[in-house]
């Protein structure tokens, strides 16, 4: 019984403790990946599209650390340079989702009534599609381009982010400081930008980091299916798609970009999860 009680005491949220080691590690890994992607032009041993026709599909060696692909291009260099596109795609998609969804969620949560009803039912329709199908529907009518793919992913994430923004806003609206601001007769813009948004922000950051991880995965799937980044660009999803045909002879073509992508996504989602626990320990318990 005694240890049960101590267990319960431990659950009581203690704010502002130090970041857990897992989060610091994840942040370190992510920082390294971002740095490597930014400097890939100088770090990569070969240009992404340099072909060595005589050394097609050769295994890892001192010259080609991760082997070569079917055109004799260096897999390691391409993985390094491919990080740029994947990260950029994830970033653009997340930014678009947040820019569209946060105002929608704020408006729905602030106005309530028919605005809320209309927004949420509209978003329900979007959410009734499985996300990959909805992205494919959008992309089917657009010319193929990586940035349009990112935009489509961003649009598909809008309902998810807007729901979070709305529910947090709804919760805040009944808090004393908002009621007080209303009582003081503050302007609408003051309440929205000075009172609501700063309190909404932590939740948006957490949701955004999780969406970033999803966006990288979805972007990779789309490139893999042939609707995202197009050859001969270096991109992880595209490299994996290419590797499918050579999996018997050149497994390194799949393993190296696959591990790079997995590491990135694991780091981002660990970071998001850690941030969530740090900002809101009570909610993270369940």
């Amino acid at each position: 019984m005694a240890d049960r009680l101590t267990e319960i005491e431990e659950v009581v949220p203690t704010r502002r403790r130090g970041l857990p080691p897992g989060v610091i590690l994840a942040a370190g890994v992510l920082a390294t990946i971002v740095l490597a992607a930014t400097l890939s032009r100088w770090l990569a041993p070969f240009p992404a599209d340099q072909m060595h026709i005589k050394e097609r599909l050769t295994g890892p060696s001192l010259t080609y650390w991760a082997g070569t692909d079917e055109y004799g291009r260096d897999v390691f260099s391409r993985t390094l340079i491919g990080a740029q596109l994947s990260l950029l795609l994830g970033f653009v998609a997340t930014a678009i989702a947040l820019l569209l969804a946060v105002p929608l969620g704020l408006a729905a949560g602030y106005c309530r009534g028919w605005v809320d009803e209309l927004t949420m039912r509209g978003l329900d329709v979007v959410m009734s599609f499985p996300s990959l199908l909805f992205v494919l529907l959008i992309l089917s009518v657009l010319p193929v381009s990586p940035m349009l793919t990112a935009a489509a992913i961003g649009v598909v994430f809008v309902p998810h982010v807007a729901r979070v923004a709305r529910s947090v806003t709804l919760g805040l609206m009944s808090d004393d400081f908002i009621v007080a601001a209303h009582a003081r007769g503050e302007r609408l813009s003051y309440i929205l930008f000075r009172e609501l948004l700063p309190n909404l922000w932590p939740f948006i950051v957490v949701e955004g980091s999780l969406r970033f991880a999803f966006a990288i995965l979805l972007g990779a799937v789309l490139s893999f299916l042939g609707f995202g980044v197009q050859p001969p660009a270096a991109d992880w999803g595209l490299m994996l798609s290419n590797a499918r045909d050579f999996v018997d002879d050149a497994p390194w073509m799949a393993i190296v970009p696959g591990i790079a992508m997995s590491l990135t996504v694991i780091a981002v989602s660990l970071l998001g999860e850690g941030l969530r626990q740090h900002l809101d320990p009570a909610a993270a318990q369940s």
Binding site: V125, L218, A220
Partner: protein
């Protein structure tokens, strides 16, 4: 019953909204079906003639009603690229996908819940730690990469299983099964992690609750406590996750069918989009989405069965 009727009405409304969306999006294209058939060198006259023949010169509302009416009769129209009716192509492909989807869903539930409960019981001990870490890895790696790794190990290295295609029951039981094992394993591997993670945390929560303590105090066997008291209550969030997983499963099937060159509905979709076969694409998207909506309704009803308190409640977020 009223609740079910209400939900059905809601689903019908969503489906109408979706069919409108799909129809309008695809008809917003400058490139219409006639253009796809004739190619880029068609003269305006032949194009106009074909548009007239296909009814593409009618007002868009009439076109929509025709299309939707056909849909309700199970007639999905004509595929442009394959030059045959869509209905006899679509159902067999859907059936082959169901052969992957249904076993996956069953396995995901069984494996995910078992791992989750085992981890919760072993809370903070070795098994729990290993389970938690592998959950992270399983969720963060896209299913097509797992698929490639599985091909690498089980097909290329051990040569136990075929890498691509499908076989029907007519070819024998093992050939059919052997084509299903890797796709199902790939999908299960990623999806069970969502379920086990949620089951673990909600079971941990339930095991801390007063009713579990009371059950233990009454001297109930630990097994009964876990299965009857903790698990039944812990199932609610798990069902929500399973419903969400349906969406991931559909996305996963599209990717996995491409990896394993499996002739299901996912590949049909990818094919139709890459070839700009609009009628085929519309049909596939609408049928899959309808199934998704109905499956979500089933999840909601299951939720009500596990939790009588909300049985007649509204939307279950």
């Amino acid at each position: 019953m009223i609740y079910v009727a209400k939900r059905l009405g809601y689903i019908a409304a969503i489906l109408v909204a979706m069919s409108l969306l799909v129809f309008l999006v695809t008809h917003a294209l400058p490139e219409n079906t006639a253009g796809v058939i004739l190619g880029e060198y068609a003269t305006p006259e032949t194009r106009a003639a074909l548009e007239h023949k296909l009814g593409l010169d009618l007002p868009i509302s009439v076109q929509y009603l025709r299309w939707a009416a056909g849909f309700l009769h199970g007639d999905f129209g004509q595929s442009v690229i394959l030059e045959q009716p869509i209905t006899p192509i679509l159902w067999p492909a859907l059936g082959r996908s169901a052969l992957i989807a249904i076993p996956t869903l069953l396995l995901v539930s069984v494996v995910g819940i078992s791992i989750g409960v085992a981890a919760a019981v072993q809370h903070d001990r070795t098994f729990d730690r290993i389970a938690t870490i592998s959950t992270y890895v399983a969720v963060s790696v896209p299913e097509f990469f797992w698929g490639l790794l599985f091909i690498l190990v089980f097909s290329s290295y051990f040569k136990w299983l075929p890498t691509s295609g499908a076989a029907s029951l007519g070819d024998g039981v093992w050939p059919m099964l052997s084509h299903l094992i890797l796709p199902v394993a790939t999908l299960t591997f990623g999806l069970q992690a969502h379920v086990s993670r949620m089951t673990r945390s909600s079971t941990v929560e339930a095991l801390r609750s007063d009713y579990v303590r009371a059950a233990r105090a009454r001297g109930m066997a630990e097994r009964t406590v876990i299965l009857r008291h903790a698990l039944r209550n812990a199932m609610l969030p798990t069902i929500t996750v399973l419903a969400q997983d349906l969406g991931f499963l559909i996305g996963g099937i599209v990717a996995v069918e491409t990896v394993f060159a499996y002739p299901g509905i996912g590949r049909l979709l990818v094919y139709s989009i890459s070839r700009h076969d609009l009628p085929l694409m519309e049909a596939v998207i609408l049928v899959v989405t309808a199934i998704y909506c109905i499956a979500n309704l089933a999840a909601d009803l299951l939720y009500g069965w596990f939790n009588p308190r909300i049985r007649y409640g509204r939307s279950l977020d």
